[in-house]
Symmetry: C2
Subunit: 304 residues, 2 copies
Amino acid sequence: MKPGKQTANSAAELLVRHGERLHEYFQTIRSRHVAAPPRLVEAIQYSLLAGGKRLRPALVLECAAACLAKPDARKHASALAAAAAMEFVHTFSLVHDDLPAMDDDDLRRGRPTNHKVYGEAMAILAGDAMVTMAFEIIATDAEPAVVGPLVKELAIASGPEGMIGGQVLDIDGENANLTLEQLQRVHRMKTGALLTASCRMGAIAAGAGENHLNAVSEYGRHLGLAFQIVDDVLDVTSTPEQMGKATNKDAAKGKNTYPVLMGLEASKREAHDQLMAALSSVDELGSAADGLRNLARFVVERDA
Amino acid sequence: MKPGKQTANSAAELLVRHGERLHEYFQTIRSRHVAAPPRLVEAIQYSLLAGGKRLRPALVLECAAACLAKPDARKHASALAAAAAMEFVHTFSLVHDDLPAMDDDDLRRGRPTNHKVYGEAMAILAGDAMVTMAFEIIATDAEPAVVGPLVKELAIASGPEGMIGGQVLDIDGENANLTLEQLQRVHRMKTGALLTASCRMGAIAAGAGENHLNAVSEYGRHLGLAFQIVDDVLDVTSTPEQMGKATNKDAAKGKNTYPVLMGLEASKREAHDQLMAALSSVDELGSAADGLRNLARFVVERDA
């Protein structure tokens, strides 16, 4: 079941296609905020348009597609709003994570981090603005019936029991010895919650029933775990040039990682097992979920 | 039309009553987040329960009351959710504002600022979490029909064209000579947007029609201006003990203020004129708006 070059290409093509759609939509969003201070808009755009894989929005859009029986322009619009909101929240978290008081990183996606270019105050405010904009986007562009569920999903996944809570645990866990179970809790919150929410928000936007919602939730949960394990592995095995950011920094900071806790080979096997579990979660969705299958393989096979 | 002691007491009593209701609700919200890291919850509670006037939630609740023809438990619940969300966003803005990279304040409401107690990383994350929680509260507890409108109102008022945008302009304006018009724009965004949104969210929660919504919007706009002028005046005329934070810091930082631009006496007159305009905005709401009238007088007459 190892993916060949063709599968990897399909995922890459899919990411590019969704990325372009998202990029166009970002322009629409920008055009609605003409009264915002230009330098704030610039700082937001700097990080938002810095590239990146756009994995989360692709998951939103592919989960929506997998759950949609037939094309539906309004549901597509809801999914696109959810996808953009998710990328705004993800980007905000990177900008704040890089701050001197946090991870203190100079490099992100191959470019100077936001605060290196715009200063700390602006980076804090640009991050803050991205959060409020995420919710504005959903409230403005999603179908009224799904605004509440989408807002709730995104808010919980990014809040104190999700991503932000995970970042706190991550900071607390530095230089402490975590068990594998504790490490998994950190990851489930820090990165898993948003990845799972991406999948769920796509299904919600598509008006999915309980069964399909559960299927993509399970998919997202396994994918999230696989994603983090691969991230930890890449931090050990990749170069800064490949990653567009500093590598080997986990070990330098005394961070707990899968390779540290279970060894490199066992980590790779675990990532593969999680991939298999993710794939079987969406069995019932048939060929509509082929995009999700490609994305899952891409996440585990990527080298950056 | 100068308020006597009795009116001031009424506003104070009203703030206490709404504050207590809000405080109880905060406990409910906290009890829903048992999976959040305890230290993060503690940092959030530290700033959220630090006191303060609770003016914004009181505006939400009083505007809802002014627009409600008869008591309605579900609409009250929506208003309470909106009030709490507003206080979460306001508190987040104070925590981030106090950060070393921003205003670098050691004292807030008479106590050490959040980052002085919990460190910068935690203060950043606690502020971030308060934003996501604000939207979670609305999506969880407001009536489905008003979730979208409330989220949109709060997101826009706190975002790049509202509060956060105003903070950027405020930082940019330090040590620059602003015209009165430019100063008013800063304030309209930095503090006015949230105060106006508080009023509008109360009306929206109450299911108000266009006329009432417009009336409380006007009231909020004038109140917001009055509030900021009085804030600037108090920075000159009050002691740190009265304010619970450093005073005279505007001048020290070369900030543009109403007293600097138009003189102390003219500033006081302008605050009074804005109070009169706020009061006449809600004429049509009759005795249901008495609470709003007391609050407006309180804002202009306060000495801290």
